[in-house]
Amino acid sequence: MTIVIFGGNGDLAHRKLLPALYNLHVDGLLPPRMAIVGVGRKELTDEAYREFAKDGITKFSRRPLDEQPWSSFSKMLFFINASIDGEQGLASLGARLDLIEHEGRLPGDRIYYLAVPPTLFAPTVKQLARARFVKRESSPADHPFARIIVEKPIGRDLDSARAINDAIAEVFDERQIYRIDHYLGKETVQNILVMRFANSIFEPLFNQRYVDHVQITVAEEEGVGTRAGYYEQAGALRDMIQNHLLQLVALVAMEPPHALDADVVRDERLEVLQSLRHLEGEAVDANVVRAQYGPGFNVGKPVPGYREEKGVDPNSRIETFVALQIFIDNWRWAGVPFYLRTGKRLPKRASEISVHLKEVPPILFNANPAARLDPNVLSIRIQPDEGFSLGISSKLPGPDVRPYPVKMDFHYGSTFGASTPEAYERLLLDVMHGDATLFMRRDAVEAAWKWVMPILERWAQQSDPIPTYPAGEWGPPVADRLIESTGRRWRGL
């Protein structure tokens, strides 16, 4: 098998892809005959590319670099200087790939990874077709196969997403396309399905009879950093809500699939996205809050506001924080609000889904209005501190009957004693195995964009100032009001 990484000397390859492939190699999960070929405009020798990979693994791998596995892994690494511009396009790439595969006696199965800006998706795919690298698969069992991995963002609106999908579909069959949302590759996200459908205790409670509301938070501690160029065109709604958070909503809210086949699971996730209540016009103002971080502090150190960041327009109206109240209009979730929030420069990096069950009746231990019991909360910690916990009330030891909120806590680290595999490890392995369950199908991507578009359109019509929040705090007060006006509050993280 050959993995061809377009943008092979870029940041994603350096920080994520090469370390992930290295860890798969250490775990013995890569095929014995394998080549990993970085492709880029830069002139790099294979040796220089191996040094580039070594540096990335040393800095970013979850395991320290070990000389023995590195020695065998490095032999799989190659670099080819190629450009997608011009008539010749990828001709030089083809010749070198053939040679590498011939010398390594590789079967010719190829995975093309587009770790390049989205503007290059369509041109790259066209060149792959022109160079006759791709044969449409008629069956998943076809060999040699050609598969393509596409990184988000897939478009910046519904039209551009469709254009990208159309361009890829001209060359690849849908079953050959793997659209990555790396959140779906995280162990704890995969565990949502196991938790829901491998335990009899939770699933009967996951509906409007027992659930008061659901919260999903994806908090980032970092500011925009070096991504201002991209972020100024995106913002939190496009960057996080349209993909990661809506996919999490889909996983938490989906009906039990009748099988774990990729399309069966993806059908159920799509069903949730299609059931989201549309927000349009004034409903956007009432249910969606956007804000931008101002100057503040991060772990005691002063940090600049978004508009003072390098590469950001000093008058930028791009949101770095979004909070939403949304509803899923289906039988299971009718009337249950889902609160989503995401933002940059929040106090800590934390991603969590919490399912808040309804309160017990206000009698017995919950009779005192001044000291209501904490409702039961099932929280699924996606990162860091992966695991889940169930908050319950228990009697405090002693002569009085005093309930005290305690947690039943499952913690990956102390239970399994190993660092959990990175999302990219699992996702790359799934592509090798041809399992698309954790990838986004075209219809889901477009359904998510379709839902998001009225919000973007409403914002585009507005010119009033965007609220700000100090860096290092949990968003603007108006986000608190969004949830507190319903008698609820954001869960502390």
Partner: protein
């Protein structure tokens, strides 16, 4: 749950790697094969207004406080902040260490997380450290280990917790300490928990029930004198506040408080009214009431409690100690009038 530390893992860390370093320590424990549970019922932020020498060992920075004993009794994510106030430097020094202390028998081991931070950031930046390190889904208590009369609590820090734990036994100046507590008492925002206040519980019970026929001891028109050992002025004033709050109508005037020779006792309280005289003595063994009725003295025993027991008991309280608040409010009012 109390017990000795079974094992302690500790490593130096940094602002960026605290979570990863803690996760690595848990993995290290998990790999040993013996099951271990993470125990965390609350956040305990321990504040210390001092900085050890730059090369001081972070792991032993709080050796003089019974932290292990406290978290063994009430497992809390322990966050020790060693703070050097007064710095306004943008790049104030920061150091951190993380650890896990394990407790319990092999069959029921539990581990408690510890984070130690040494910072000289501006006060306004301190909440960003606390927000980052606490678990927001758990109650947060701030344990102010300093003398409140000498090192006033930082409002930005204290108001982040639901509870402020302190020990008035260390107050050198009661009036100053009450002055800094006054805003907290007035606003009722935060539950105040004075470890020293617990020592008064037998005395307060005695005052409630030791009068004739089980009535309150303070009769209408009574005057009260509280003599205290040299180091027990805060306790004496707390009692005065408690009596003013609970028996304001009965007292002729506020209790008279003064240091005096009281032998082995901490406090000796004398009550006098037109018809009787009673003496109440608080010592290490409890409260003893002599008079007003004839017969043998009434003795209210004092629970045997270590400092760690007392702090852990306060951490378990999830509601306001209204009697302490009332006593402090009475004292604040008294001192303001003087």
């Amino acid at each position: 749950m109390a017990g000795a530390v079974g094992e302690r893992l500790f490593r130096e860390s940094s602002a960026e790697t605290i979570d990863d370093d803690l996760a690595a320590l848990w993995c290290e424990l998990g790999q040993r094969g013996t099951p271990i549970a993470r125990a965390v019922m609350s956040n305990l932020v321990v504040f210390r207004d001092r900085v050890a020498p730059p090369d001081g060992d972070l792991a032993t920075v709080m050796a003089d406080l019974p932290l292990d004993e406290v978290i063994a009794r009430h497992p809390s994510r322990l966050i020790v902040i060693e703070y050097q106030a007064g710095s306004q430097q943008p790049d104030a020094p920061f150091a951190a260490g993380v650890g896990i202390a394990t407790f319990g028998p092999e069959s029921a081991r539990y581990g408690v997380e510890q984070v130690i931070v040494r910072s000289a950031c501006a006060e306004v930046a301190l909440p960003s450290i606390v927000r980052r390190l606490t678990r927001g889904d758990l109650p947060t208590s701030v344990w102010w280990t300093e003398d409140l009369s000498a090192v006033p609590p930082l409002e930005s820090l204290v108001t982040m917790g639901r509870q402020l734990v302190y020990d008035s036994r260390g107050w050198r100046d009661v009036r100053s300490a009450l002055r800094v507590l006054e805003p907290l008492v007035r606003r009722h925002q935060i539950d105040l928990a004075d470890v020293n206040w617990r020592r008064l519980s037998p005395l307060r019970r005695a005052f409630l029930q030791a009068g004739p026929g089980g009535t309150p001891l303070v009769a209408p028109g009574a005057s009260v004198r509280i003599a205290h050992a040299a180091s027990e002025a805060p306790l004496a004033w707390l009692l005065a506040g408690a009596l003013m709050a609970s028996s304001r109508a009965a007292l002729k005037e506020p209790p008279v408080v003064g240091a005096s020779e009281v032998g082995d006792a901490a406090l000796v309280v004398t009550l006098e009214d037109a018809s009787q005289r009673a003496t109440v003595t608080l010592s290490a063994s409890g409260a003893t009431v002599a008079g007003p009725a004839a017969g043998s003295p009434l003795v209210v025993s004092i629970p045997i409690e270590t400092a760690a027991d007392a702090v852990a008991a306060e951490l378990r309280l999830l509601s306001q100690d209204t009697e302490l608040h009332a006593a402090l409010a009475a004292l604040v009012q008294l001192f303001a009038a003087r």
